[in-house]
């Protein structure tokens, strides 16, 4: 074993921190972005998401060609949205929980002990990853529409900018809901189960409750976050129920407070205080 050639520590007696700049938030965010893709689980989540979108689009193109149906560009975007609506929240969850289950937060929080900045960096990185996913999904939509046209399907190339913006917003919100549950639960399987319960069970329970109790039907729009996003997420609706103009912003704000802001606030408060084991 060779003698180590260690660079001498700077200080001899004194401990001078005046010349050191804090870690910039942008640098932290780039590191967090790297963490999203430098493990097998993170990488495969993105690869599976891309594969599912491509395969689902290909199937739709083939079915449309065989059945001689017409297709719209926005149909493919909606299809990609269905896939990303499931996987982006998982990515948001894992951005938080993988550090807690693998205990890498010990290293993360000793290199940046101001934990709120680490949370902010994770938020920026996750949103950036979501936006890149959305852009790629829209690109796949164009390719699929082109493929459909080449196969003789009657296609509508009309890219509705408002709906693309709505699509992006819905996807980012989905990821952030996962992120919020991740901070609250700090455990990957627990947060994923909780997210899918919210995603699949809660709307059903709310609908049933509305059926059983008449008065509840008037309360429900205020507490059903998924329902409040429908004008932005369900491209199959009539034009007058679609888009930002059709949104009930009061319902959106109140239900968003319940399902997103409160869990995120409680989760971040917990993360900032928690003893890191």
């Amino acid at each position: 074993m060779t003698t180590p050639t260690l660079a001498p520590p700077v200080a001899t007696g004194g401990f001078d921190i005046s010349g050191t700049a804090p870690v910039p938030l942008g640098r932290l965010a780039r590191v967090e972005l790297r963490k999203l893709v430098d493990t097998r689980s993170g990488r495969w989540l993105l690869i599976i998401q891309a594969l599912l979108i491509v395969v689902a689009s290909a199937i739709v193109v083939i079915v449309a060609a065989v059945n001689d149906e017409s297709m719209r560009l926005m149909d493919f975007t909606g299809l990609a949205g269905a896939v990303m609506g499931i996987l982006l929240p998982v990515m948001g969850i894992m951005a938080i929980t993988s550090e807690w289950s693998q205990r890498t937060n010990m290293a993360t929080f000793t290199l940046e002990p101001r934990r709120s900045r680490v949370v902010a960096a994770k938020l920026i990185a996750s949103v950036a990853a979501a936006i890149v996913s959305v852009v790629l999904a829209i690109a796949v939509g164009y390719l699929a529409t082109g493929a459909a046209a080449a196969l003789g399907v009657d296609v509508n190339w009309n890219a509705d900018l408002e709906m693309l913006a709505a699509f992006t917003l819905v996807q980012v919100l989905g990821l952030l809901t996962g992120f919020a549950l991740g901070t609250l639960i700090l455990n990957t399987p627990g947060a994923i189960v909780c997210f899918f319960a919210y995603f699949t069970l809660v709307p059903v329970i709310l609908a049933v409750a509305g059926e059983l109790m008449g008065w509840f039907e008037s309360v429900r729009p205020w507490i059903d976050f998924a329902d409040a996003q429908l004008p932005l997420s369900d491209f199959g609706q009539d034009a007058d129920e679609l888009g930002f103009a059709a949104m009930h912003w009061g319902h959106f704000t109140v239900s968003g407070l319940i399902w997103f802001v409160l869990p995120l606030g409680a989760g971040i408060a917990r993360m900032l205080r928690a003893e890191v084991k």
Binding site: M1, T3, P4, T5, L6, A7, P8, P9, V10, A11, T12, G13, F15, I17, T20, A21, P22, V23, R27, L28, R30, V31, R34, K35, D38, T39, R40, S41, S98, Q102, R103, T104, M106, A107, F109, T110, L111, E112, P113, R114, E275, V276
Partner: protein
């Protein structure tokens, strides 16, 4: 450089760290010695900002860790070598830290070379690392930012004898260049070989601290003479506590005093020296006797959870 002052940390009714104070100076290796569950890790975790103190403070250079900008450039911390993502390669672990600190990636290669992890090993996932390799990676991680202070919790765990020797040389060199090292261990032998100063902790309280020489002196003097029985009587009558030890006696006094007692009694000495290693070991066992699990079967079993 490191100052722990009247630090107390409780978990429910259990006091993990009880009014602990000690310092670790620049240019010195300070050993933090104690049995498992004595409060070493809790103290270091407070220093690292991962656990909140109930009372007192733990600072580096007068600052709490969160007050230090880009703290990785000033304080190198290794608390648990296994707390790395099992799916990342060793190289990736160091790259993330280097990027966080704003260091060039070339620094990663330098550190890998320093801790003797070769190219192929650095590209293996941490899952496939032995504990010794994880310790080396952890030491590389701690040294990455060229810090002036190192805080290492049980760094020798899992290292083979050659590895322990290597680490000893590394940390000595680091201290000689002016760095401050605080390292914990539950093995006296390990600390004794490397530390200039020691703080001994048992059941959350500091039970002894000082330079190695001071602690050795406190451990007494080994003496062997032509007539140990008569010497023992002579020392006892001079008010010195004497206990039989191996081929001779251990006197709770300095060598000069023992020599004078022997001269006055006219007994020829065969051997006279600080009781040294074995004496310090006795001291350590004695100081921590009532905190040892082996000695107290009624000790709370959840104690280890706070180790």
């Amino acid at each position: 450089m490191i100052a722990v002052e009247r630090l107390t940390k409780r978990y429910g009714g259990f006091t993990a760290v009880d009014d602990v104070s000690f310092v670790a100076r620049a240019g010195q290796v300070t050993g933090f010695l104690g049995p498992n569950g004595a409060g070493k890790t809790t103290t270091m975790r407070v220093l690292a900002g991962l656990t909140r103190a109930d009372q007192g403070s733990a600072t580096v250079g007068g600052y709490q860790l969160h007050e230090i900008p880009n703290p990785g450039r000033h304080v190198g911390i290794l608390l648990d070598a296994s707390a790395q993502h099992a799916g990342r390669t060793g190289r990736e672990v160091l790259t993330l830290a280097a990027r966080t600190m704003g260091l060039p990636d070339s620094r990663v290669d330098e550190m890998l070379a320093l801790v003797s992890l070769d190219e192929a090993e650095s590209r293996r996932r941490v899952r496939n690392y032995s504990l010794g390799m994880r310790q080396r990676l952890g030491i590389a991680h701690a040294l990455l930012g060229e810090p002036q202070v190192l805080i290492l919790d049980e760094p020798a765990n899992g290292l083979d004898p050659a590895g322990i020797r290597w680490m000893r040389g590394l940390l000595r060199g680091y201290a000689e260049r002016g760095g401050a090292v605080l390292l914990s261990s539950h093995l006296l032998h390990e600390v004794e070989q490397i530390a200039d100063e020691m703080a001994v902790i048992g059941r959350g309280q500091i039970v002894a601290s000082g330079t190695k020489a001071e602690l050795l002196a406190a451990a007494g003097t080994f003496v062997h003479s032509a007539d140990d029985a008569r010497l023992a009587a002579a020392l006892s009558s001079a008010g010195v506590t004497v206990t039989p030890s191996g081929t001779g006696l251990v006197a709770d006094a300095e060598a000069a005093q023992v020599g004078e007692a022997a001269l006055a009694a006219g007994i020829a000495l065969v051997e006279l020296r600080p009781s040294g290693t074995s004496g310090l070991e006795d001291l350590f066992l004695e100081l921590t006797a009532d905190t040892q699990r082996d000695a107290a079967t009624a000790a709370p079993t959840n104690e280890g959870a706070f180790a």
